[in-house]
Every structure is written in C-alpha cells, then in structure tokens.
Symmetry: C2
Subunit: 247 residues, 2 copies
DNA sequence: GCAATAGTGTCTTTCAGACACTATATC
DNA sequence: GATATAGTGTCTGAAAGACACTATTGC
C-alpha cells in the first residue's frame, strides 16, 4: 500500500480531542515599568477578572497565524503595518493543565508580543475593557498585574503563570537578542533603549558600558540623524540593523 | 447567574478540534557527540522514516504527564527510578503547521529529556526499531541525524525542525543551568562534565577555566570520594548540589 | 622511576562598572 | 554664558583563556 492509498482510507475521527487556543501576552513599557495588555471578561467563567487576549486556533490555521490574528483583532490593534514595523512575536510556551479552564479541556499556546507603548495606548484608551497593567515580579517569583492605584488585579485562568513566564523570558533574552528594540519606534536614541532595558531588569544601568555593549553587538546602527525638539543637545537616532539576527 | 450555574449549562461540543500529541526529544551524549532517540516508523505515513517517540495527550492528562508517560513507555525505558535520579524534562515548543501531518490536523507539544547514555543504551540495544542517532548541526542551521555509517537518516514529519530546536536550546542553556549534569550518572568527575560540555558545544574547553566556572556556580558539590579503577591518579567525584536551581 | 591524568598558580586579555571629563544643543 | 544632556577617555576589578607547573595514583 502506498502512502497515498493509506491516506485516502484514513479515518481521523475516532478520538476525543481537546480545544486549542492561542493566548497573547502583549508587553510594552509604560512609565518605566513593564506592562501587559489585559482584557476584562464580560462572561463566565472568571467574569470581571482580567485575562490575556486570545482565541481559538482555526482548523486550517498555523499557530503563528492564529497569534497574529489575535494581535490584530482582539487586542484592538489595526492590522495595517503591524508586521513591517517590527512587532516582535514569538511563541512562549504551552499550558495544558486539565483543570485550567472549568468549561472543558483547553490547551493554550501562549505567545509573546512586543510593541512600542504609543502603538497600544490608542486602542486601550478607546475601550473600557482593555488596560495596560504594570507587572510586578515579587522576590518569591509571584507575579501580579496592577491597576492604576497599584492594587493587584484579579487574573483569570492560569494567566498569572503565563504572564510570569513572559516576563522571565523577556528579561532572559535582553542580553543576547535585540528584543528591546521592538519596544521602541523605528528611530530611537541610545538613552531610550537604555531606559527600556532599565525598566525590564528593574535597576539602573551604567551608561558607558551599556553604550559599548549595544554598539558592539551590531544589532543597531546609527542613522546620522539627530532627534529634534529637545532643549538640550540632541542625541543621535539609531535604528535596528538590517542584519539583526532572528530567534 | 453564578459561575456554577453557567458551567452546568455549558455545551463544549460545537467546534471542530485538532488532535494534540506530545513528541519527545530524548537527548544524550554518545562518543562525544549529542544524540537523540529515534524510532523507525512501521506504518504510513512516513513509513521507514525515523521519528521522535510520541503519543496523544489524554483528555484528562496534563502535558507534562503525557511527556513523562511517553518517556516511560514508548521510549522503552523502565519507569522505575526515572524521575528520582535526575532525568531532566522540560517543554521545548509547540509545532502546529496545518500540513505537518498528512492524515489530519495534529498539533504537537515537543518535550526535551536528558538522560545519561548508559541508561538509554540497554533499551536501544533490545529493540531494532530504536536508535540513538548522533546529531549534526550544519553552519547554515540545517540539522541532520546520522546513522552508524555517518549517512543522514530520513526523518518523518517536521521532526528535523524539532530536533534543531532541541539542540539549540540545549546549547543555549549550558552556560546558565546545571542541565549538563542530567547527562551524567549521580556521581561524576569534573572531567566527565567537561567532556559533556565539549560534546554539546562542539569544541574543546579550557580546563582551569571550566573548573573554576563550575565550582563557582554552586551547581555541584564535591563528595570527598574518588573514582576507582583508573590506572592513574583518581579524580574526585562530584554530585549535583541540593540547592541546584530549577527552570 | 615512568606514565598518565588530576588539580592549581599565575600571567594576560577582555570586558563591565564607575567616574570624570569634553561636546553640543537651547535659551 | 548657563543649563542640560550627549557622548567619551580611562581607571579598576572580575572573569576567561593559555600555559606551565605540582600532585597522586597504578605499574
């Protein structure tokens, strides 16, 4: 029997199957702190709790595609120019505890997106069910998302755990990938980049050392242009280098 | 309506769903090279090709549990003592291209296990459909699994891609986690550990520097015991320290 | 003593942190 | 010129690579 014959007679129906969703941790930096986009649930379960934007994976749709769709639709972003302009999207991990959703067995593939704060702010301001919640990682590893007053937000499902993974991953990749550039506009100064790094690692960094390190990596390149609108010496504008390594 | 009421009336059936499997990259070091356990397929599709051991995720079973079950069953290992003695198991990534399996939509969560070579060798020798294939990562990033004669093995599905991810992950974690110790017996010498590191990174390492680095991390601790059976000066035996950090 | 490897002392190089200094814009 | 920040020169200390040396076992 050839493989083609085999496939023609194959019955794919006998077993019960879990549902598969994609959840998106859309992170950015607001007021010097890492923050994630959360959506307040209108329905049970976990009504009124805050959840990551997500959606079911279509039967003919790849996982990355589903994540991109959630980024464009549910997260309230406009699809226009989302990918070209350097939104960082990568798979984070998959969460499949049988009890993680009380309705039914749902396995979720968590993704991790980075976008400059100003690109998200508009969508958040236009909708009351969305918020950019600052994240706080305690010494003991517990993660909390905070509201405007600094009080912890109630999180739905296992989303606190997913957020924790995302923040740990973001911190871990800072030193060996140009990931932080995805949180800045296409043109940025080294000061801007340093502030993003400081927000994520949670402590001040040494200026000359940071500058040396960034320029040595080859991740970014100077444009020769300078920023404008400052009342002091304007800094040079940089952009992500064409040969920035992926993954 | 309370959440309990909602759940009682919830109908989880309406949508079509993908199948979800777990695939296991069981890696070890053989003859100074990284190698992975592969199983030759007896059936279509990809008959005669080599595949990662895997299995469907049960409806009431967590992902980690499924991976552990595959490690114990399909990989031909005996369950006895598998976890206590430090087999490393962690989630790698999830692969869900709609066309990755010609039968139907199967999303697979890949796991990554590390076991000392001698623990796998017995199971492999006892079965003709299992092999420990040395892995070769080319300069251009392409991964090939080799047979005894050094010829590339034909790999099923997207398993070459999964193997590539596993080897890249293993290399990346070497420097900041005690992961390599999982490829050695409970007691080992610093020379053994260095050889494992050299096998994975693919180049010789400096002895004093390696020794300093390993002892400074606190990942391992000396036992005071020495190896026996050598015809030269016996080396001290080390073990993984009790406070070795996880993740 | 010989062979073989374990384990260490130390020099050099490299790189991060720290600090002070110079440079350049607006006002 | 005052001010504020950009950007750099240089010292110091920590850690890696390299090499040679001493130590300890079996034969």
């Amino acid at each position: 029997m050839t493989e083609a014959d085999f496939l023609q007679g194959y019955d794919p129906t006998p077993f019960d199957r879990p549902s598969v969703t994609v959840d998106l941790v859309l992170m950015t930096v607001v007021d010097g702190r890492p923050a994630a986009l959360l959506q307040q649930r209108a329905d049970h379960p976990f009504r009124q709790c805050w959840a990551l934007p997500g959606g079911f994976v279509g039967m003919a749709e790849g996982l990355d595609h589903a994540a991109r769709r959630v980024l464009a639709d549910k997260a309230g972003m406009h699809q226009t120019g989302m990918d070209e302009s350097g939104a960082w999207l990568e798979q984070l991990a998959t969460f499949g505890d049988p009890a993680r959703d009380p309705r039914m067995r749902i396995i979720t593939v968590a993704y991790f997106a980075l976008i400059p704060a100003d690109r998200v702010a508009g969508a958040v301001a236009a909708r009351t069910d969305l918020t950019l919640a600052p994240l706080h990682l305690a010494e003991d590893g517990a993660l909390t998302a905070l509201d405007n007053s600094g009080a912890p937000l109630p999180l739905a499902f296992d989303h606190a755990e997913i957020l924790r993974h995302a923040l740990v991953r973001l911190r871990g990749k800072l030193d060996w990938s140009p990931i932080a550039c995805a949180l800045l506009p296409p043109l940025f100064t080294l000061r801007d980049l340093q502030r993003v790094h400081e927000a994520i690692v949670g402590r001040p960094l040494n200026k000359p050392a940071f500058r040396r390190r960034m320029l040595d990596t080859g991740w970014i390149e100077g444009t020769g242009e300078k920023e404008s609108g400052t009342s002091y010496r304007p800094a040079e504008l940089y952009r992500v280098a064409a040969k920035g390594d992926a993954i």
